[in-house]
Amino acid sequence: MEKELNVVGTRVPMLDAALKAKGAALFTDDLVLPGMLHGRILRSPVPHARIRHIDTSRAEKLPGVKGVVTGRDIPDRRYGIVPKAKDEHALARDKVRYIGDDVAAVCAVDPETAEEALALITVEYEALPAVFDPLEAKKEGAPLIHEGVKNNTSFFIRKEFGDVERAFGECDEIFEHSFYSQAVNHAPLEPHGALAQFDPQNGELTVWSSTQIPYFLRRNLSNTLQLDESKVRIIKPKVGGGFGQKIDMFAKDFCAAWFAIHLGKPVKFIYEREEIFISTRQRHPMYITVRTGVKKDGTILAQKFQAFADGGAYNSTAPTMIALSCFFLMIPYRVPNLIYEGSHIYTNKPVGGAMRGHGIPQARFAVERQLDIIADRIGVDPAEIRIKNSIQAGAPHPAGFVINTCGFSDSVKKAAAAIGWKEKRGRLPLGRGVGLAGASFPSGVSNMSHISSGAVVQLGRDGAVNVLTGAADIGQGAETVIGQIVAEELGVPIEDIRVTAADTGITPLDPGTFGSGVTVRAGNAARLAAISAKQKLLEFVADKLEANAADLVAKDRKIFVKGSPDKGITLAEALKGYQYADLPMPIVGRGSWMAPASEPTTLFKEDGNFAPNYSFMTQAAEVDVDLETGKVKLLKMVTAHDCGRPINPMLVEGQLEGSVVGGMGQALYENVIVENGQVMNPSFLDYGFPTFLEMPEIEAIEVLTDDPIGPFGAKEAGEGTQLSPAPAIVNAVYDAIGIDFMELPITPEKILAALAEKTKENDKAQ
């Protein structure tokens, strides 16, 4: 039955859209405090070296310089976003491990003076041999980047499901291919920044930071500065996109806080674009080999997956990233017998971190590409092979995932129909082709600790609703979605809702924006808080209406008996009555939510459900390959997405469209080029992510399922769609020119070289 909803499911503009359109939305760099100082960071010019000596005396003497700090001055506290993978100091202590590593920081009256002072710091380095490729770095005898980490392999995961050896023996055909995915920079438009202020009287530190996860930043700052967590307050201003890059703590956060504490003045650090490319995070480059065995009809029987991720100089999210790569091989296809092996390997290069899809896009590129190759070689339609192998809702899962709703095969069918699959696949002229690829993504995680959200809903005497949530809106519209959920539950229009979010001094605990879990996790918490607030009012009104509280509904700013909208009172009347009845005001509802997990494990050792629910999606691409220039134009991308029931279809479309264009960048244009550890293209001009000119026609199709766990049936929408645009495009290129590409991105140079090679082979054959 269709639920009767008034606010959920509507195309409400973002609550802060007008502020943004007026240029009045304040990001970290827009905040100014009286007497504010400015900081800059000195970065390593060498890929791997021991720090012999740092002389800061000349910098300290420069007029306008207020302070200099190096790794020797700060507490010896390692940090990292994953507790068991801490391997980083806010400033390097003994060694630098990549070009761009944080070495020292200067604080001065203005950014120019700080910059000038950086040049006056002399660092004596003792060069160490460096290694830039994970396949070299894992060999015996390779330079060791972190003491005690053998073969530079900081994480290794291996698991077997079923009986892989026996299953390969039962296959009709076995295929093995190797793939490579490149480094991609998130490139959010807003540069990373931090502004810190310290009150020496009560010892309280306040940091405004461009962060996706205020509460983790609080913990990391508390640990590294050796301050009580209660003395650290993180406020997230508007954040100009993150895509995973603003998950980690960075030197700017630590150094702004350090100087604010030591100088007693507010201090701001803003990264330059070049620093964002070199010294924040990027999508892990990955070498992958997949061996897959199938029956004649395309049924997958067995798979072996081996991945070597190029982690760069530090771990960041390493264990989570490599685990995600592996776990999500088991969805959206049924792979009854599977071995995966994933390694995270250090190199002397920029650091890998979470990026939209987090380890899964690389794996999907390999698997979805290979599935097309298999389909082609055994003569099964690529859409059919995906539908045939699709997992189904309710079916037992080899790893224990609980799939309550699954729109995957529907998404294949809808995407195929919308791209014109039957008429076009294999039937377009040379240079034109269509391709598709599928994926699934978790709506947050249920199988790890500290992953719960809280919310508070307060009803004011005039009926206005104040929502407190820890959720971190970084531009995706989290506050709006949470506002819609609360409005729906309380039966008020969205205009009545005010959301206060992501201030660790005010709002309830929330893990932040990552893993696409915000709508389900923080949304459920907000919904529970709204129900709790509503319940107080309903119980009060019940007597007056001579009804059971359970039979009352709140709708259209009224409370009435179910089925009799005329028999009721307005919300304002109810609130007034409540107030005059000498009941405590205001009405406060609290909610907290954690995904149901019977046995919290980390999944590294035991099986179990990974996420509260899973989105499913298929991308279908049509491309035009210019045979003269080798340029690929993505003409159209269809994205059919099962995100359950969308809370806000307009925001969901925005997520899908942005994700598709990002995925196109990964397929065709983007690559952080590194030579001997030096990033060669650290600017928007040289990096070249997609512009208006490259945008394809995009058709976003909702595949509606009604998930029992998500608030009002919702699942994730932000990340999953970036998993498979790249394989869909490369599969379409195969359809267009009959060449299988195994390495991303497929640049015009690669296309032309492959076309020339093919011509040569054809000539030879004749």
């Binding site: 195309r11 503009p13 973002m14 802060d16 859209a17 007008a18 502020l19 943004k20 359109a21 007026k22 240029g23 009045a24 939305a25 304040l26 990001f27 760099d29 827009d30 100014v32 998130h186 490139a187 959010p188 438009l189 807003e190 540069p191 508007k238 954040v239 100009g240 996109g241 895509f243 803003i270 330059e272 674009r273 970084i474 531009g475 995706q476 519209g477 307009m650 925001l651 479309e653 925005g654 469209e657 942005g658 994700s659 598709v660 264009v661 990002g662 600017s683 928007f684 001009l685 992510f689 997609p690 512009t691 208006f692 000119l693 945008m695 995009i698």
Partner: protein, 158 residues
């Protein structure tokens, strides 16, 4: 070398002491607090710092403040007349043409310059002229739709 210059910004005149190497972006943000003009790359490559100079779109991060003397400068804060939002602002809001909002002021001002120059540009012209404005969130689709919707209404009776 510092000197006093007079800039006309959003209809107001400001006397400002600036260095000859100060960019217009620095002056707008740091001296006048007009934070709607964003610094995304400081290299003229992202369009977030776009302002209107005599009605045309300029990148304020690669324009010297001294070169803006005698010209009419409009920033995002000066686009809306009185309390009413500009039609482009309304279209961006209602049609979901913004997400994080960091590129939005530059997008809206570039679109305004395009629609001022040419009353009914085609979608291709809009895309070509906006190609210097980067957005990492939206995939551009809803921005094009928002600009086209305003474009279509131009000249219609209110």
């Amino acid at each position: 070398m510092k000197k006093v210059i007079e800039l006309n910004i959003n209809g107001d005149t400001h006397d400002l002491l600036v260095s000859s190497n100060h960019t217009l972006l620095e002056v707008l943000r740091e001296k006048l607090g007009l934070m709607g003009t964003k610094r995304g790359c400081d290299l003229g490559a992202c369009g977030a710092c776009t302002v209107l100079i005599n009605g045309e779109a300029y990148l304020s991060c690669i324009m010297l403040a001294v070169d803006a003397v005698g010209k009419e400068i409009i920033t995002i804060e000066g686009l809306a007349a009185g309390g009413d939002l500009h039609p482009l602002q309304n279209a961006f809001i209602d049609q979901g043409a913004l997400q994080c909002g960091f590129c939005t002021p530059g997008m809206i001002l570039t679109a305004e310059a395009i629609l001022t120059e040419d009353e009914h540009p085609t979608e291709d012209v809009i895309k070509t002229k906006m190609a210097g404005n980067l957005c990492r969130c939206t995939g551009y689709k809803k921005i094009v739709e928002a600009v086209m919707s305003v474009n279509e209404k131009i000249g219609e009776e209110a």
